[in-house]
């Protein structure tokens, strides 16, 4: 018989772990995996960056960053990230405000929701490709319609534009949730105290949205910092950024050290963003004041003409986004975009013959990654949310690291860490799967934690009080509640496996070819028709998966079940 437990003698923290061997075992396994696939690669980058002749030294950093081009790349990255953060947040706010604060009919709101879906589910460089089609040397808009012969599509302006279009949907999803959460009574109150609409917006609505705006800015800043493909296609020689520079150093010059240092330079701002988001922004969300919300009220935020103005602006942008994707599709079905507009299916023939290995490899990796990543997310999420063990908080933070870091860093870290003994897995599918699991599995963790934290402990206590044991309670109560999180996790890992590029580009090999990498190759080989056809293929597959998952999620109509937008925003 175990000794009677006394709360006062629980001083020894490991006691709980030893009393529950299953818990101990699972925590140990998770820690071993995290150490191997998150901590170890990152530490390799740090060693690579700060080691010279067996000693700690700043010489590498100083040497490489003092090269003029590299330093420029560093500042360019920060500049681009800041601008994308600002413009994307502004655009996202416009859409979100129009959707939830201007009394639109359900149909219009649904239309706005739909119009941002395409950029969200596409590989991050499809906008960049469409930019070339539209504004490039033989671009539809510049060359054919406007007759501009020497329009320069390469540089900061178009990279900024493409990344804004690519990432503003994230801002939209973030801000929409915040704006919808503002109690309309608070705005009504301001009206009743004599405020005009503009004043209510300025003194109530906008200040209440500030934490969301900051969060959205940080998200977009980080996304832009990590974006590798858009600058590769659009930035050109005049505007080097860190991810592309690191890529050139590693694949062009086989200089792993420079690559590491450059990715470390990327790590610093990324880390600052991570800390700001986690410890500053998250605390500034205003808690809704107690009490049940009053009667539903008509939202009076905007006057009728302002509403039409907002809607028109949104429609114009949505149309432009749609135009990009129509262009992409068009390029995939003509002989040679820019020269020969005869319709053909030959690019798709290439995709399914010559490109079949890429499709086959990508799907295999995505499927295995999805299963492993979904499971990983739910298990870690369950441990973090429901179990009490020493190192719990550290484990949660560590599990989020790869997700929060720019993909370039993760890719280079994996390359540096697993290229050599003791663990040589470069060139295998395992390295790709591990990369996806430990990067995108984090969404599953977050969703699981969010769901489990919403579940009142009394629900499980109610099950115990009705005579169910621990096993039955887990099986009948906990698992059904967590299932939506599992499906979300599965979906995210699959979709990201189909569309990711920034980390993958460093760890692909001839053994395993990925679609996204083939698209970039085709772009540089100027086989843009095939690149477009591949992109359309990816978009279609991802779209089908999203629809399937949202259908599954709809089966779980319990409160707190995640929305399909979780997948997209993650």
């Amino acid at each position: 018989m175990p000794p009677p437990s006394s709360p006062h003698r629980n001083g020894w923290p490991l006691r709980g772990v030893f009393r529950d061997p299953a818990l101990f075992l699972s925590v140990a396994v998770i820690w071993a995996l995290l150490a191997l696939f998150i901590v170890y690669p990152l530490s390799k980058i740090l060693v690579m960056t700060f080691e010279r002749g067996g000693h700690f030294s700043l010489a590498n950093v100083v040497e490489i960053l003092s090269a003029k081009n590299q330093l420029r790349a560093f500042w360019n990255s920060l500049l681009l990230g800041t601008l994308v953060g600002l413009s994307g947040t502004a655009l996202g706010f416009l859409f979100a405000f129009t959707a939830v604060r201007s009394n639109l009919s359900k149909g219009w709101v649904r239309f706005l929701d739909a119009s941002i879906i395409l950029p969200l589910i596409s590989p991050p460089f499809t906008t960049a490709i469409a930019m070339i089609f539209s504004f490039g040397p033989r671009g539809l808009l510049t060359y054919h319609l406007l007759g501009i012969k020497n329009f320069n599509v390469y540089g900061l302006h178009s990279t900024l534009f493409a990344e804004t279009i690519t990432y503003f949907p994230i801002a939209y999803l973030t801000l929409k949730a915040i704006l919808a959460g503002i109690d309309p009574n608070v705005e009504d109150m301001a009206f009743s105290l004599g405020s005009s609409r503009w004043r209510v917006f300025r003194t109530v609505t906008l200040p209440l949205t500030v934490p969301g705006l900051a969060n959205s800015f940080l998200l977009l800043f980080a996304a832009s910092l990590a974006d590798f493909a858009t600058p590769l296609i659009l930035a050109g020689n005049s505007f080097p950024v860190l991810p592309t520079e690191a890529y050139l150093q590693i694949t062009g010059l086989f200089d792993l050290k420079s690559g590491s240092v450059l990715s470390f330079a990327l790590l610093v701002p990324a880390f600052i963003v991570f800390v700001l988001q986690r410890y500053w922004v998250s605390r500034r969300y205003y808690v809704t004041i107690t009490g049940k919300t009053g009667a539903q009220t008509q939202i009076k935020s905007v006057s009728p003409w302002a509403r039409w103005l907002l809607l028109t602006a949104c429609l114009a942008i949505a149309t432009f986004v749609l135009y990009f994707y129509v262009l992409l599709f068009y390029a995939s079905v003509v002989m040679a975009f820019g020269a020969n507009y005869q319709l053909t299916l030959k690019h798709y023939r290439v995709v399914f013959t010559e490109g079949f290995k890429a499709i086959h490899d990508t799907l295999i990796i995505a499927c295995f990654g999805m299963l492993a990543g979904g499971l990983y997310g739910v298990v870690v999420g369950y441990l973090v949310a429901k179990k009490d063990f020493i190192s719990r908080q550290v484990l949660e933070v560590v599990s989020m690291i790869n997700y929060s870091l720019p993909g370039t860093i993760v890719g280079i870290a994996y390359l540096v860490a697993f290229n050599d003994r003791p663990i040589m897995i470069t060139g295998t599918a395992l390295i790709l799967i591990a990369c996806y699991v430990f990067r995108y599995g984090a969404t599953g963790i977050r969703t699981t934690v969010a769901i489990l934290q919403q579940i009142d402990p009394t629900i499980e206590e109610a099950s115990y009080s009705l005579g169910a044991g621990t096993g039955t309670t887990f099986r009948r109560i906990t698992i059904p509640l967590v299932l939506p999180a599992l499906f979300t996790g599965l979906g995210v890992v699959f979709i990201r496996s189909m569309t990711a590029i920034s980390a993958t580009i460093f760890i692909v090999s001839i053994n395993w070819v990925l679609i996204t990498v083939r698209i970039l190759e085709k772009m540089t080989e100027m086989e843009i028709g095939v690149a477009a056809a591949f992109s359309i293929f990816v978009i279609v597959v991802v779209f089908i998966v999203i629809v399937a998952i949202s259908l599954v999620l709809r089966l779980f109509r319990q409160p707190g079940a995640p929305d399909v937008s979780n997948i997209l925003g993650g």
Partner: protein
Amino acid sequence: MKAVSIRLDNISKTFLHRVKGRVVAVNRVNLTVEPGELLTFLGPSGCGKTTTLRMVAGFENPDEGRIFIDETDVTHLMVNRRNLGFVFQNYALFPHLSIYENIAYGLRVKGIPGAAMEQAVGGVLKLVGLEGYEHQFPNQLSGGEQQRVALARAIVIEPQVLLFDEPLSNLDAKLRVHTRSEIRHLQKNLHITSIYVTHDQEEAMAISDRIVVMNKGEIIQVGTAEALYFHPNCEFVAKFIGKINAMSAEVLGTENDKATVQIFGKNFRLSGVPDGVVAGEKQKVFVRPELVKLSNQTGPGRLTAVVTERTFLGEKIEYALKIHGHDLNATAYDPLQRGTFAPGQEVAVEFVETGIQILK
């Protein structure tokens, strides 16, 4: 400042409900609130009281009818032009502003200069007993304190009209009683015409000059608490304000507004009988439980009942009785003086004759 009147002229409002379809929330309501009066809308949930209030505020627009404040038509005036103070059920404090800034908000909108604003805010904070809370934020305050901030914020702008939407329903019972008398004092001292919405009849009786009883979007009766309690115009009001026994009686004869009825085999002479009561017919009659007197003196010629349940509530005891197979409730005050009865005991029952009413 001179108190103003509020007049509702035949206002109606219809909503589209997801399940029920078209719902008439407010149906042709006519009402005048006298200057300086505190008028309460009382009724069960969904009776249209909050909707009517929100139309007076300007948060909703009536589909039909007109609203006048101080004899000025404000039907299509936006809420920010109506010069009113509104206290929400959930207080709707601005979570991002300090208590001082919450209260100063309306003054800033009006462009009141700094010194005068500080004085006004300090004044109302003192009035509601929250001095020293200037730099706190809403989430640092208790529910009762938040409630008082909401009140201070509404009165500091010296509105013509004060509107309350169930302002006390999120407070605990003791605080509710205390705060409602504070609101009452404040309203009398400031002499601001006020409309107060509640579903709690005790609160309504305690706070109002007059009460408007509403049901299904219509006004059922308007009057002082006494008038509604002693002279309800229908069964709904009688049952909603206080408790009442309904009994079956036989009308033996009528004469003008007087009638002789037989209840449980005993004759009573009633006055104030409405038209349409005809001799020889069955008729529902009503009597309040405290007008049902119980005693030990059972005997011939007296009504006898059996106690089935006894609830001791301190200053009073509530009895559930069975009389001639029917349920009857009685409330006895002052139990020490009058003695108490145990369940199962036979008691003599007397009705206070003037308290028996026939209602439409």
